[in-house]
Every structure is written in structure tokens, then in C-alpha cells.
Amino acid sequence: MEAEAVKLLAAGLAIGLGAIGPGLGIGLLAMGALQAIGRNPEAQGQIQVNMFIGIAFAEAVAIYALVVALILLFVV
């Protein structure tokens, strides 16, 4: 394969595979938060804030994949 083709493939795989884990993680986080809100609706505000923080940390992994993909596309 040409170097250019490998680069494109690698960038696609990097972000595609890298998004699986965070996707699962965010889904689990939202599930837990929704269940918690269902059990204790008064704590909704606190739960939501913590959920967003958790989602942001799970999402950070996908962001590192994005950075790698962008580096592969435009820098390497």
C-alpha cells in the first residue's frame, strides 16, 4: 500500500477504535445517572453535575484518539 493510503486508514482506525471505549463509558455513565435520578429525584442537580464531569473525563480518551488521528492526517 502507498504511504498516503496507510495514513488515511490509520487516521480512520485511530478515531474509530478510539471512540468505542468512551462511547461505552458515556453510555454507562448516563445509565447510572438516570437510575440514580429515578431513585432520588431530589438529588438531580448534584447527580447531573457529577455526570457531566464523568462524561468529560470519559470523553477525554476519545479526544486523545482524535488528536492522534489529526496528527496522522496533517503532521506525519
Partner: protein, 334 residues
């Protein structure tokens, strides 16, 4: 197996829905064909020296926000109405969050910084909704590949002849409105590219990185301010050696170093989270009309409005949490 009248009606509804969806896509593609626009990751120069189109837009947005704040703040009423209501709800919600999470002593210091970030990012993110419209206004310059034929472009100032005399790679004059034409057509003239004059500031990595850097530097400043030199004990943990023995002390020390590295990782994740979300939204808004249908764009507008407000909120809440964590005394908790 569900049988009977109800099931049949359900099936009919689904079929009608599918037919309508396909009709929208087909009609949209035949009657309103949209060529694919160029997608640039970096913000492009627009002939103003170092000022790129994203920076230019951020200047304009800043002026708009300051103007809005000035005009709304000038005639405040005891009984709020209209715009004042909206602004008050927003400010009160943000203030409530800051007071809930931040230490009492620091909440008044944090609030102006964080509210500024939120309001500015809200405007900056929502500006990307205008990309399909404003993206076609810009400065024309010749390109070698993947451009629009020069005949398809409407010149507001200047003319196609100006472009010919310039060496390739330099920007041409003339602000122009890129007319939509089929790029597949073989151009007999030259091909040109339109560099948009406006671009959502948060779809430029420079802005998001600058914001992230400012936030993380402020985190360190607040931490040092509140806890003095003891704040550095977060990163260089030496007291573990005397308290827990050499083995656990070494682990503690290493954890402290990791903590330090994660401060830098936060800058990267902060900046790329915002950039990635808004830039991806812009790309979707640009690609969907040419890929599926112009009418489907409405759905994605809804999504982008949501993403814009969520990302502004995430930036706000994360900076708030990092500020609060830096100013809390961890030592006494354990």
C-alpha cells in the same frame, strides 16, 4: 404476531413516513443540488496579516457581546421583562452552580471568570450554525485542485482578471460570493477557492487552546494563592517517605508526578474537546447538504444548537471543578 387493524395502520404509518423521508432526500438532491465546500482544519488568513478569519470573527463577537451587555445593563428594571428575564435566569443559574460547588470564600472570585467563559463560548459555538450561510462569503484565490470554476463565482469587488496576474499561492483580491456550481464539471478556466471571511472562533484550535491554557494557569494561580507553597505538595509528595515507609512513599511520589502530568493533559483535553465538537459540527453542516439533502440540515441544526450549549456548559463546569479542587485543602481530609 400482531395482526388486525391496529398493526396494519402502524405499518401504513411507517411506510408513509419512509416515503416522505425518501421524497425529501430525492427532491432536495434534484432541485437544490449543493456542491461540496472545502473543509479546512486550520483557520485561514484573510489578508489582514496575522488575523485569521476565526480571530476576525471573535473580535466581532466580542464587540457584539459587550454591546449587548451594555444595552441590557443600561435599563435594568425592578420587574424584569423581555431580554432582561432571559439574562437574569442565565446569570442566576450560573451563580447558583458556582456557589454550590466552589468554596464560599472563592465563589465571588470564580463567578465572573467562569460566567465570561460560558457566555463567550455560547456565542462562539452557536456562530458555527451560520457556517452554511456565511461560509460562502469570502476572499477568492486560485487553487490547483478541488476548486470551483471561476465562472461560478460572483465577484462583488474586483474581477477574475485580477486573479490571473498573481503568482499561485498568494491571495487574490476581491470579496466574492461563491455561487454554487457543480465541481464535477470540467472547468475551462481556472479553479478558485473561497476562503470564508467568517468562521466560528471555537472551531479554531488556537482559541480553544488559549482558553484551556488560561484556565489551567488560573487553576495553578488560585491553588498557590489559597494554599501557598503547600499546593506544590500535590505534585511533589515527599511526606509519604516519613509517614508510610520507603515503598509506599515512592508510590506516593510517583502518583504526585502523575498528577503533575495530568495538569498538562487537561490542557489538551480541554482544547481538543471544544475544538473537536464544534469543528465536527461545522463539517456536518457543510457535508450534509451535498451528501443527503438540504432539508435534512434542519435536523442537524437542532443537534448543533444542543451541542453548542452543552460544550459551553462542560467547559464552564470543568473549570469550576478544577478551580474548586485547587482551592480546597486536601491535607486535612485524609
Amino acid at each position: 404476531m400482531p395482526t388486525g387493524k391496529g398493526a396494519k395502520r402502524m405499518t401504513l404509518k411507517i411506510i408513509i413516513g419512509l416515503v416522505i423521508a425518501i421524497a425529501i432526500i430525492v427532491v432536495g438532491n434534484i432541485f437544490v443540488p449543493v456542491p461540496r465546500a472545502a473543509i479546512e482544519v486550520a483557520a485561514e488568513p484573510i489578508g489582514l496579516g496575522p488575523i485569521s478569519n476565526a480571530l476576525f470573527t471573535s473580535f466581532i463577537l466580542s464587540i457584539i457581546i459587550v454591546g449587548l451587555a451594555f444595552f441590557i445593563g443600561r435599563k435594568l428594571k425592578e420587574k424584569p421583562s423581555g431580554v432582561q428575564n432571559i439574562v437574569e435566569v442565565l446569570i442566576e443559574a450560573l451563580d447558583g452552580l458556582v456557589n454550590n460547588i466552589a468554596p464560599k470564600k472563592w465563589a465571588p472570585t470564580f463567578f465572573p471568570i467562569l460566567a465570561t467563559i460560558f457566555i463567550y463560548l455560547l456565542f462562539a459555538n452557536w456562530f458555527s450554525l451560520l457556517t452554511p450561510l456565511l461560509g460562502s462569503f469570502g476572499i477568492i484565490h486560485p487553487t490547483d485542485h478541488g476548486g470551483i470554476p471561476v465562472e461560478k463565482v460572483t465577484f462583488i469587488t474586483g474581477s477574475p482578471d485580477d486573479l490571473h496576474h498573481e503568482p499561485a499561492g498568494e491571495e487574490g483580491h476581491g470579496e466574492a460570493d461563491a455561487a454554487h456550481g457543480e465541481t464535477a464539471e470540467e472547468a475551462h478556466g481556472m479553479e478558485v477557492m473561497v476562503v470564508p471571511l467568517f468562521r466560528a472562533p471555537s472551531s479554531d484550535l488556537n482559541l480553544t487552546f488559549a482558553l484551556a491554557l488560561t484556565t489551567m494557569v488560573l487553576v495553578q494561580v488560585f491553588g498557590l494563592w489559597e494554599r501557598g507553597i503547600g499546593y506544590l505538595g500535590n505534585f511533589i509528595r515527599l511526606d509519604g517517605f516519613s509517614k508510610k515507609g520507603p515503598m509506599m512513599g515512592a508510590i506516593d511520589f510517583f502518583v504526585g508526578l502523575l498528577e503533575g502530568v495530568s495538569e498538562f493533559a487537561k490542557i489538551i483535553s480541554f482544547s481538543f474537546r471544544l475544538f473537536g465538537n464544534i469543528f465536527a459540527g461545522e463539517v456536518i453542516l457543510i457535508v450534509i447538504p451535498s451528501l443527503v439533502s438540504l432539508l435534512l440540515l434542519l435536523v442537524f441544526f437542532g443537534l448543533e444548537i444542543f451541542v453548542g450549549i452543552i460544550q459551553a456548559f462542560v467547559f464552564f463546569i470543568l473549570s469550576l471543578v478544577f478551580f474548586s479542587m485547587a482551592t480546597q485543602h486536601h491535607g486535612e481530609e485524609h
